[in-house]
Amino acid sequence: MFHWLEKNPFFFAVGVFLVIAFAGLVEILPNFAEASRPVTGLRPYTVLELAGKEVYKKDNCIACHSQLIRPFKSETDRYGEYSLSGEYAYDRPFLWGSKRTGPDLHRVGNYRTTEWHENHMWQPNSVVPGSIMPAYKHQFTNVADIETAYAEAVTVKNIFKTPYGDDIKAGKKAWEAYRPKVLAEARKIASQMKNKDVKDMVKAGKVPEVVALIAYLNSLGAKRYNAKK
């Protein structure tokens, strides 16, 4: 019945191209829809939060934690409101993940605190009995790369028009002027922590990875919406 298709390879190739192109359009076009623009009141990540996001990627949290709450009652009961595509507008890349060995983290900032994360990253089963998550003690001594995070902010501002303020711009001078703001944000988090190494490092003008990571985790949820409190 379809033997005639095979007699004309050129026609067949065009047909295959059309079918695949159509499938591509169906996948790609929705990304330009209104629904994937930033949701109202969403602010971009601060530089410290971006540095934390890099720690999240580097220590491969995505291997066990997702960041996408599906619209099922069982999930919204446990993790909070379901996720909307516009919430990921400033995530480059988004960190949806595909495996939940641990819980979803998309709204973890709404129900966990700096103190909790400090205990949990140092010794997970001290707060979650039976947790199989490994301890991440190295994050308390490793220094987070806030300069690269700043560069990332400058890049996404210039290329994708991410709405950062005028104080984020290219150049060493601009970075030197901006650095104290990042450190102030880090000091605020470190003041709620108990670890002495972390406090000393922040005092010396360095940002430990755990501080950046906690800033990022706290930002996941309502804290990135200007409209809400």
């Binding site: 019945m1 379809f2 033997h3 095979e6 007699k7 599906r70 619209p71 099922f72 009652k73 919204t76 009961d77 446990r78 909070g80 379901y82 709404n110 129900y111 966990r112 605190t113 700096t114 103190e115 909790w116 205990n119 001290s126 707060v127 979650v128 009995p129 709620q192």
Partner: protein
């Protein structure tokens, strides 16, 4: 029976033997149907793999190509006609026709919405929940409260509510610790939204504050220190908060727990986020009932 068959049977026997060996050495409990089915499945896979391989290896040795040649040739290489069975072909054409219907009429007119499905799911659940727990008794509330506590509260307050050695508020050992009372006296408090409003800092100092803290942490037992008068103005002489006007510092009550869940809290130990949008009023009541059972005497 040829040599290949013999080799295949030996190989299958080895695989089956290995399966039994693993089952034995790992002390797998075969009375559990899941384990039994898994083991039977493993044996079936071994037998089928060997059987199918033997069939095709034999076929490759003896089979020759046959059939009717199609007319087209590429560089002298032809192919046999191998038509799609007509039933498959017609189903395929059918799906193409169905796709046109789906793009133009089916999906736009009757589109599926995940969020709509979620709304319906939540609506149905809430209705069922309201009916089931219209007038819950204390045992129901305590059981519900425990399950909520284990999910929402235990990560900080611990499975038993002991606060994980000082990481969060301890519900078991008294209402409030001396350290916490001193911190509230020193810093004041305006977090919980009680009608009485903000508690100013430094209402008592030095020895007075110490005495108040010892008295409150001790469960308001024994002789009331004179300095407690300044607290009694809002919290009542019995410390119970004058029927919800101010925080109850003697016991846990529904008002106190509702206020904390609604507003969150920042105190001597640390910060607690607000949890009100994660629970219904009945669930908060259940949680409060459960927390009141935690306190040991």
């Amino acid at each position: 029976m040829n040599a290949l068959m013999v080799k295949g049977l030996i190989f299958a026997a080895i695989l089956i033997g290995a399966t039994f060996y693993v089952v034995n050495s790992m002390h797998i409990d075969l009375s559990d149907p899941i384990n039994l089915i898994t083991m039977i499945g493993a044996i079936a896979i071994a037998v089928l793999t060997v059987g199918v391989s033997i069939k095709y290896i034999n076929q490759m040795k003896s089979d020759t190509a046959s059939g009717e040649l199609a007319e087209e040739k590429w560089d002298g290489i032809g192919e046999y006609k191998n038509e799609l069975p007509s039933g498959w072909a017609f189903s395929f054409l059918g799906t193409i026709i169905w796709a046109f219907w789906y793009w133009t009429i089916g999906y736009p007119v009757n589109s599926f919405s995940q969020i709509g499905q979620w709304n319906e799911e939540v609506k149905a659940f809430n209705k069922k929940f309201e009916n089931k727990y219209k007038n819950p008794d204390k045992a129901t509330l305590t059981a519900m409260g425990e399950s909520i506590f284990l999910v929402q509260c235990a990560p900080c307050h611990g499975n038993t509510g002991d606060g994980l050695s000082g990481k969060a508020h301890d519900f078991v050992d008294g209402r409030i610790s001396k350290k916490q009372v001193l911190a509230v006296i020193k810093n004041g408090s305006n977090q919980l939204g009680y009608p009485m409003g903000a508690m100013p800092p430094m209402m008592a100092t030095g020895k007075d504050a110490e005495e108040i803290a010892t008295y409150v942490a001790g469960g308001l037992k024994g002789k009331q220190p004179a300095a407690f008068g300044v607290c009694a103005g809002c919290h009542g002489a019995d410390g119970k908060g004058m029927n919800g006007m101010a925080a109850n510092i003697a016991d846990y009550d529904d008002t106190l727990i509702t206020h904390v869940i609604k507003n969150g809290k920042h105190g001597a130990i640390g910060t607690m986020p607000a949890f009100h949008d994660r629970m219904t009023p009945v669930q908060i009541k259940a949680l409060s009932t459960y927390i009141q059972t935690l306190r040991g005497e």
